[in-house]
């Protein structure tokens, strides 16, 4: 069905000459109405509550953050805060706000607002899964003076500085933060961002308008002052063939959720594809080390060597996707390229399995003490190519004598399955720019879904969390990445990539550090 629709939409564009024709000037100018087709309904456009792309694209435009993060260097730079100090032990963060920024209801963006927001996110609790993890151990915020806010944590929390650059910790006016979670999903979202919410109709669209008089943008942005675009419409277009067609026929200016198999078609009909790897944990098989077979490090290392990442990317994905080269994706802060350790080496894998006592058995599957080397992999249906990718990995591992059985789950079910622990490997990814995501995933003091007892890894992870100095922190993070790979706790495979299709009328639609979109600098020709 899919290919058929794509083929049809290609034929459609081929007939109507080129899909979008570039007209007008090549210099940025104010005004215009951009329509963006979202793959699914945002459900809730409160940036503090939501974590999925289709909610974040519209929600991000409504709020400013204390800081911003340079997507190229990972450096934290001023936005609402013109400067800040971090205590040496990374427990106290003092922000000096720029003066004069206001929320769209006229109230000032001051130290009091910072306190209201962080207190409020903690109050949201599980309604803000991301916020709760960024503010773990939050002790409180002191309003030092109108423009100075001091945030304190019970324990070192170095990732907090990067967290202040995220949409999740974007600031909302008191008229929003005092409302209960359910009341701030479809309206009442008042921020200080370059766009304001006009209307959100579930399953239909999010309409936003430019905020005039906006002068407190991020220090990273090319344009000072208000945004170029007068209006922004995010339309919900769930069918991927229709999304592609709406871009090709000019009914949308940009579309999200471009699947790998749609890329070639869009590209060949003259559309630009923007893409950026999602930072954080790449798509990977994460071991459950409490299980009898995966408890053996040699088995885990063999699996590590028996996966041919390049083949997965070449066969299942598109050239825009990259094979994983570390336990963090290449766009993550403090990422260290450890690609040489992730080379495909089936012979070494076989040797490791031999050493561990696994001898070739019937049907090519290895056996030891009468037991087959058979492992269960659980995965969620949250990314289209998951199944094909895993089936290919299954074939690759069979070559070294490992049998894989795949069990798919809905995303809700998956959370439960992981907690129960009835599996050998779990397939998944997490988007986060800060390397602290490794602590969330692999520290035995956290959720510990891998059931680890590794004090060496724990102490490195704790050190990176307690080090305020970025350079020294990066060293700890690099050691942690190497440890996770060497022990085979995780078998990273490929980096999730966000792909956006745009017509040639659209200029400067930029990815921010978390590979989500920022529309402030965008203009239409």
């Amino acid at each position: 069905m899919f290919t058929f629709v794509t083929a049809l939409s290609l034929a459609a564009t081929a007939c109507s000459s080129s899909g979008a024709s570039g007209t007008g000037s090549s210099t940025p100018h104010s005004g215009g109405h951009l329509t963006f087709a979202l793959a699914s309904d945002p459900v809730c456009v409160d940036p503090q509550q939501q974590g999925n792309n289709d909610a974040i694209y519209p929600a991000r435009q409504l709020v400013d953050s204390l800081t911003d993060q340079d997507p190229k260097t990972g450096k934290i730079v001023p936005w609402l805060a013109r400067s800040w100090e971090v205590s040496k032990d990374a427990t106290t963060f003092t922000f000096h706000l720029r003066h004069g920024a206001t929320f769209s209801d006229g109230t000032p963006v001051d130290a009091r607002a910072v306190k209201d927001n962080f207190d409020g996110i903690v109050r949201l609790g599980a309604k803000s899964v991301l916020g709760a993890s960024y503010l773990a151990g939050y002790q409180g915020t002191t309003v030092v003076d109108e423009d100075t806010a001091r945030v304190r944590f019970k324990e070192p929390n170095a990732q907090f500085l990067q967290a202040t650059s995220t949409f999740t910790l974007g600031l909302l006016a008191r008229s929003t933060t005092r409302l209960p979670a359910a009341k701030r999903c479809t309206d009442h979202i008042v921020g200080s961002g370059p766009f304001t919410l006009v209307d959100y109709t579930p399953n239909k669209s999010v309409e936003e308008r430019r905020r005039s008089g906006y002068t407190w943008g991020s220090s990273l942005w090319r344009k000072k002052g208000p945004a170029y675009l007068e209006r922004l419409s995010f339309k919900v277009v769930p069918e991927s063939g229709v999304r592609t067609g709406s871009l090709q026929s000019g009914q949308a200016d940009a579309i999200g959720g471009v699947a790998p198999q749609d890329e070639a078609g869009l590209k060949s009909t003259g559309f630009t594809l923007l893409s950026r790897a999602n930072p954080g944990v790449p798509f990977a098989l994460t071991a459950n080390t409490a299980r009898p077979l995966t408890r053996d490090a040699r088995v885990r290392q063999a699996i590590q060597l028996g996966v041919n990442r390049k083949e997965v990317v070449d066969t299942v994905l598109s050239p825009r996707y990259k094979p994983a080269t570390s336990s963090l994706a290449s766009t993550t802060t403090a990422y260290k390229n450890l690609g040489d350790r992730l080379a495909y080496a089936p012979d070494r894998a076989k040797k490791l399995l031999e050493q561990a006592g696994w001898k070739p058995g019937p049907g090519g599957i290895r056996v030891k003490d009468g037991k087959k080397l058979s492992l269960t992999v659980v995965w969620a249906t949250n990314f289209g190519p998951n199944q094909t990718a895993l089936e290919l990995i299954q074939q690759q591992l069979k070559k070294i004598g490992v049998q894989i059985s795949l069990k798919s789950h809905s995303i809700g079910d998956y959370v439960e399955v992981r907690q129960k622990g009835d599996y050998d490997y779990a397939w998944g990814n997490t988007t986060r720019v800060d390397p602290d995501i490794l602590r969330t995933s692999f520290s035995s003091e956290g959720l510990n879904l891998s059931r680890l007892h590794d004090s060496a890894l724990d102490s490195v992870l704790d050190e990176q969390s307690a080090t305020a100095d970025p350079a020294r922190r990066a060293e700890h993070a690099a050691r942690a990445q190497a440890l996770v790979l060497d022990k085979g706790y995780q078998v990273p495979v490929f980096e999730l990539t966000t792909v956006i299709g745009v017509s040639d009328k659209v200029h400067h639609l930029d990815f921010e550090a978390s590979s989500r979109l920022q529309f402030h600098d965008t203009w239409l020709s």
Partner: protein
């Protein structure tokens, strides 16, 4: 008449209760739960702690014993309160009421189109004397039923909207956005109407009075469109409940393909998110629509054919 009505009403109440209860049981038997789905953020496989899940379950009352939850929900539902959406906190009844106009527009336009189309095909097929034409017309319903709505919708979007640029592909603003979805939804519905109507027309035309009328000198056209048409129109009416079901089910697909808002769309998203209160509200709503359609038919049919409720129309002799 009153006894007949009371009987019908009791039946209706039973159907509604059964729909409510079945949906409750099915939703709880499914693996996964709405809270975990929501907490996982919808995109990534985020790590969520058991404490966070437990806290959310408490907020929505999903931690209480099942029987208590059932009793609670039923008690509130009796008063028209189906609770709030787990996804965004909106009251379910308001959610459905907000989406209803868009779906009503779509389904009534589709029903109108389907009736014209279906009746037209049936009348033409039974009236024509050309055998090949009759065969061709009579094979249309089978074709219409078997063409997947999803596929028909996509073809229409690709050709009419993307290739010819005649009509919008997305959204539901203005009458022009209604054309393609209504046609897509009307096709399977008209097939059902045509099938049932053609059959009942043939039955009616085989009745002895037709020959009598023709023998008395009535024209073939008069007998066909006068006598037979009226008598043959009851069986299609009795499948109205089924048609309402078809239209509602079809709206899930049509509203998704054409990016429209409405009952179908919220059904699709609520089922994916296992949003129990919303799904239950929608199931009961669907059952209510079905029951009302049947009730309306039950009231209309006796007017067309008094034999249906013998006691209600003593004046008629058989």
């Amino acid at each position: 008449m009153p006894r007949y009505l009371v009987q019908r009403l009791l039946q209706a109440v039973f159907v509604l209760w059964a729909a409510f209860t079945t949906s409750f049981v099915v939703l709880y038997l499914l693996p996964g739960d709405p809270v975990s789905i929501m907490a996982s953020g919808g995109g990534d496989t985020n790590d969520v702690s058991p404490e966070q899940i437990a806290e959310l379950k408490r907020t929505y009352g999903f931690d209480k014993p099942l029987i208590e939850q059932y009793g609670d929900r039923l008690w509130h539902a009796l008063r028209g309160d189906f609770g709030i959406s787990v996804q965004n906190g909106d009251p379910v009844t308001r959610l459905i009421a907000d989406q209803l106009p868009a779906t009503l527009q779509l389904t009534s336009a589709a029903l109108l189109l389907a009736t014209v189309l279906g009746a037209g095909v049936a009348l033409a097929a039974t009236y024509t004397r050309r055998r090949w034409l009759r065969q061709a017309l009579l094979s249309l319903p089978a074709l219409g039923v078997s063409a997947p709505t999803f596929w028909v919708g996509l073809i229409l979007v690709q050709v009419v909207s993307f290739r010819w640029g005649l009509l919008p592909a997305i959204g539901n603003e203005g009458p022009q956005s209604l054309v393609l979805p209504a046609i897509t939804l009307a096709i399977p519905t008209s097939a059902v109407i045509a099938q049932v109507f053609a059959k009942s027309l043939r039955t009616a035309l085989a009745e002895p009075y037709v020959e009598t009328a023709l023998a008395k000198g009535a024209s073939r056209r008069r007998v066909h469109f006068g006598h037979a048409l009226r008598n043959a129109s009851i069986p299609p009416l009795t499948v109205a409940g089924v048609l309402v079901g078809n239209l509602l089910a079809g709206s899930v697909i049509v509203e998704t393909v054409f990016s429209r808002t409405g009952i179908g769309r919220i059904t699709a998203t609520a089922v994916t998110a296992q949003d129990i209160p919303v799904v239950q509200g929608l199931v009961v709503f669907g059952a209510l629509a079905f029951v009302l359609a049947n009730l309306a038919v039950d009231l209309v049919v006796p007017l067309l054919d008094p034999r249906v409720t013998g006691a209600a129309a003593p004046a008629v002799t058989r």
